[in-house]
C-alpha cells in the first residue's frame, strides 16, 4: 500500500502510482501527493498497474482529486487498471468523470 508521484519536468503533468490496496488507509498519502506541489499540474495520470483492489473510499478520494483539479474541467486519466478495478469504476459511472485508458 504505497502511493508515489512524479511530476513532469515542467510541472504540468503529475503521475500518481498506487500500489496494492487503494482504500482509506492511503488517503493521506494520496492527497499529499498532489496537494503539496508548488504549482498545480494541468494534467493528472493515475497509474493503477499495481493496484490490487479498491473500495468506495478510494472512489471518494478520486472525486476529491477531481474537484481539486478543476472539477468538470479536470484532466485526469487512469491507466493500466485491472479488469476488477475497471469494473468497479464502471459500476460507479466513473468513466464519465475520468479518462480510463485501455491497457498498453
Amino acid at each position: 500500500m504505497t502511493v508515489t508521484s512524479m511530476a513532469s519536468d515542467d510541472g504540468s503533468e503529475l503521475t500518481i502510482v498506487i500500489k496494492g490496496r487503494f482504500d482509506f488507509s492511503v488517503h493521506q498519502d494520496f492527497r499529499g501527493s498532489y496537494e503539496t506541489l508548488s504549482s498545480k499540474p494541468e494534467q493528472f495520470i493515475l497509474d493503477m498497474t499495481d493496484t490490487a483492489y479498491l473500495d468506495s473510499s478510494a472512489l471518494g478520494m478520486l472525486l476529491l482529486l477531481r474537484d481539486y483539479a478543476g472539477g468538470d474541467a479536470a484532466k485526469i486519466s487512469i491507466k493500466n487498471a485491472s479488469s476488477d478495478v475497471k469494473r468497479i469504476l464502471a459500476i460507479s459511472n466513473f468513466e464519465q468523470l475520468f479518462t480510463i485508458e485501455n491497457n498498453e
Binding site: R21, D23, F24, H27, Q28, R31, T49, A52, Y53, L54, D55, S56, S57, L59, G60, M61, L63, L64, D67, Y68, S82, S83, D84, V85, R87, I88, I91, S92, N93
Partner: protein, 569 residues
C-alpha cells in the same frame, strides 16, 4: 638406440624353427632397440603371443607342430579387432605360397637373407599403422560412447515428456492428437486436462532447442498447467503463470511457442491464445476454414508486466473442429527439400468431404509428401471437436480432487472486538480463505470490495457511529479519518461479526456474507438517496451491483449479501 622420445619400445615376436635365422633376426631387432620375444614353432608362437601381446609378429612359414599359416590365423583371432601386423619370414618365391601367406592373415613378407635396413623400415611402418589403428579404435569407441550418451539423453528426454504429458486426461472424443517421437525430442509438448467446470484445457508448445534442454522447460510448464487447471484457475492466469515461470528459468534465447485452448462444451465456445505457433485452423461445418493467427509473443519472452494473456473467444457449432500444430508439418520437406507448406494444408481441407477423416488425412498427406526423407516424423497435430459432453466424459479423478482437497461447502464466523479495531484488518485473512475456493479465485477483486465495504460500514457507522456526511467537504476527509483513528483507539465496547458461508451449486457456487455490528442500525432506503457527486455513500450501491442479493436485516445493523459464481465465469 634409435628410439625417439615419442616411440615407446616396440615388442617383436620372432618365430622360426631354424636357430640360425632366429639368432640373426633377434640380433638385428635388438640392435635396432626393440624388445624381442622368441618361439621355435607355431604352437609356441601362439602361446607367447597370447601371454605377451607383442606389437608385431614375424613368422616363419614352415615350422613343426603348427606351421606359420595356421599360427597366423590363431594369432589374428586372438587379437580381435586390434591390428597385429604379421610378417612372414620366407624365401618362398612362388605366387601360390605368397597368396597362402596373405590368406592366412599375413600383412607382408620379409625375405632371406635379412636386410636390416628394410627390416627396420617395415617394423616402423607397421608400428605406425598399428598406432593409427589403435587411435581409430579409440575414436570409434568414443564416438560410440557419445552416440550411446546421445541416445540415452534422447530416451530420458522422451521419458520426461511422456511422464509429464501423461499427467492429464487426454482421452476423450473431443480430442485427437499425434506427437511423433522426433517431434517430442525436438521440443514439442502437449498437455491437456479437464477443468473442474468440465471444460477441456489444452496447451500445445514448441520449445526452441531440443533434447534435455527443451524437456527442462517442459517440466514447469506441465506441472503449472496441471496444477492450475485442476484448481480451476482461468486460462489467462495459467498462461501468465507459465510465462512467468519460463521467463525466470529459461536462458535468453530459449522460449516456448505455444497455443492454448479452452473448449466450453456447454456454451459451444472456445477460448484460444496463440503465441508464436503457426495459425490454428477452425474448420466450419460449411467447409470454410478460419485461421487463428499468432498475435502474441511466445511464452518465456516477456516479463509478466508486458505479457498479454487475453485469449480470443470464438463460437463453435457442434461438429466443428479446431486444428493446432507446431511448425513440423509446415516445414516437413520432401526428398527434394521442398516444404509441405500452407497451400498443401489448405488444399487438404478444401478437398475433404468427411470431417471425421480430416485428422488422418492430414497426417497421411504430410507423411506421404515427406516420403523417406529423414525428417519424416517431426509432426505434432491436435484436433479438437466441438460436441456435447457425455457424463462418461467427465473426468472422475478431477471430481475426486474437487471434493477431497478443495474447499466446497463451509462456513465461518469471525468476530472483531474493540481492542482489535485499530490494529487489525480482517480483509487479507478472510480473502485468503475465500481464495481456497477455486471458483472464487477469479473474483478476488470483487470480493475484496464487497467485504471491505460491508466491514467498513459496520465499523465506521455501526460501531464508531461516524457520520459520513463529514466527508462531504474536501477537508472533511481528513477530519473523518482522524476521528476514526481516535475512536478506534479509545473504544471499549462493540463488535463486528462477519459470517461467510459457501455452498456448491449445479453450475458453480454461492457465497453468503453476513456482517453484523453492535450499532443501532440504519435504513437502506435513506442511505441510497444520496446523489452521485458526494464523496461518500457509494459503498452499499457498489455492493448491490457486485452481488446477486443484498438485504438489511434486524434493526439495520445486519447486512447480508450473496455472491454467486458460475463455472463458466
Amino acid at each position: 638406440m634409435g628410439s625417439r622420445k615419442d616411440e615407446r619400445l616396440i615388442t617383436v615376436l620372432v618365430a622360426d624353427d631354424t636357430s640360425t635365422d632366429r639368432l640373426i633376426l633377434e640380433a638385428i631387432l635388438r640392435k635396432q632397440g626393440h624388445r624381442v620375444l622368441s618361439a621355435e614353432d607355431g604352437e609356441q608362437a601362439v602361446a607367447v603371443y597370447s601371454a605377451e601381446r607383442p606389437d608385431i609378429v614375424l613368422l616363419d612359414a614352415l615350422m613343426p607342430k603348427l606351421d606359420g599359416f595356421a599360427a597366423a590365423r590363431q594369432i589374428k583371432t586372438l587379437a580381435g579387432e586390434e591390428l597385429v601386423p604379421i610378417l612372414f619370414l620366407t624365401s618362398l618365391t612362388d605366387a601360390d605360397s605368397l597368396v597362402k601367406c596373405l590368406d592366412a592373415g599375413g600383412d607382408d613378407f620379409l625375405s632371406k637373407p635379412y636386410n636390416p635396413v628394410i627390416l627396420q623400415a617395415k617394423i616402423r611402418s607397421f608400428f605406425r599403422m598399428r598406432a593409427m589403428q589403435r587411435t581409430m579404435l579409440e575414436q570409434r569407441d568414443q564416438i560410440a560412447r557419445h552416440n550411446e550418451h546421445f541416445l540415452q539423453e534422447q530416451t530420458v528426454a522422451k521419458q520426461v515428456f511422456d511422464n509429464i504429458t501423461s499427467g492429464g486426461q487426454v482421452d476423450s472424443k473431443h480430442l485427437r492428437y499425434y506427437l511423433s517421437p522426433l517431434a517430442v525430442f525436438n521440443g514439442d509438448v502437449m498437455v491437456a486436462s479437464t477443468t473442474p467446470a468440465g471444460n477441456l484445457m489444452l496447451l500445445l508448445g514448441d520449445f526452441t532447442g531440443h533434447g534435455l534442454p527443451a524437456a527442462i522447460g517442459a517440466m514447469p510448464l506441465a506441472t503449472t498447467f496441471y496444477g492450475m487447471v485442476e484448481k480451476g484457475f482461468a486460462m489467462s492466469d495459467i498462461l501468465a503463470e507459465i510465462n512467468s515461470k519460463l521467463k525466470s528459468i529459461l536462458p535468453v534465447g530459449l522460449f516456448c511457442c505455444a497455443s492454448m485452448v479452452e473448449m466450453n462444451f456447454r456454451k459451444n465456445t472456445v477460448r484460444i491464445w496463440n503465441g508464436g505457433l503457426p495459425a490454428a485452423y477452425l474448420h466450419r461445418n460449411d467447409g470454410q476454414v478460419e485461421q487463428i493467427k499468432s498475435s502474441h509473443l511466445p511464452l518465456g519472452v516477456l516479463s509478466n508486466k508486458k505479457f498479454k494473456s487475453d485469449p480470443a473467444l470464438i463460437s463453435m457449432a457442434h461438429g466443428e473442429r479446431l486444428y493446432l500444430w507446431s511448425d513440423g508439418i509446415h516445414e516437413a520437406r520432401d526428398l527434394d527439400g521442398e516444404m509441405y507448406g500452407d497451400d498443401r494444408l489448405l488444399a487438404e481441407f478444401a478437398n475433404n468431404q468427411q470431417p471425421d477423416e480430416l485428422f488422418d488425412d492430414l497426417l497421411k498427406s504430410v507423411k506421404h509428401f515427406v516420403g523417406l526423407s529423414e525428417k519424416s516424423d517431426d509432426l505434432s497435430l491436435v484436433e479438437l471437436l466441438m460436441a456435447p459432453v457425455d457424463i462418461a466424459d467427465v473426468n472422475p479423478d478431477s471430481q475426486v480432487v474437487t471434493t477431497q482437497s478443495q474447499l466446497a461447502e463451509w462456513g465461518l464466523t469471525f468476530e472483531i472486538k474493540p481492542s482489535s479495531f485499530a490494529i487489525f484488518d480482517p480483509l487479507p485473512l478472510l480473502l485468503s480463505v475465500l481464495l481456497e475456493v477455486p471458483g472464487l479465485r477469479n473474483h478476488s477483486g470483487t470480493l475484496y470490495t464487497v467485504i471491505s465495504e460491508l466491514y467498513t460500514n459496520a465499523l465506521e457507522h455501526g460501531v464508531l457511529g461516524l457520520d459520513s456526511s463529514i466527508k462531504d467537504a474536501p477537508d472533511g476527509f481528513d477530519r473523518y479519518y482522524q476521528l476514526r483513528r481516535d475512536k478506534t483507539q479509545t473504544i471499549q465496547n462493540g463488535f463486528v461479526k462477519i459470517d461467510l458461508a459457501h455452498k456448491m451449486q449445479a453450475d458453480g457456487g454461492s457465497l453468503t456474507i453476513i456482517v453484523a455490528d453492535s450499532g443501532s442500525g440504519f435504513s437502506l432506503a435513506d442511505y441510497t438517496q444520496k446523489n452521485d457527486k458526494h464523496y461518500s455513500g457509494r459503498g452499499l450501491k457498489l455492493v448491490q451491483s457486485l452481488c446477486d442479493t443484498l438485504e438489511v436485516r434486524g434493526d439495520g445493523n445486519i447486512v447480508a449479501a450473496t455472491f454467486c459464481w458460475h463455472t463458466d465465469d
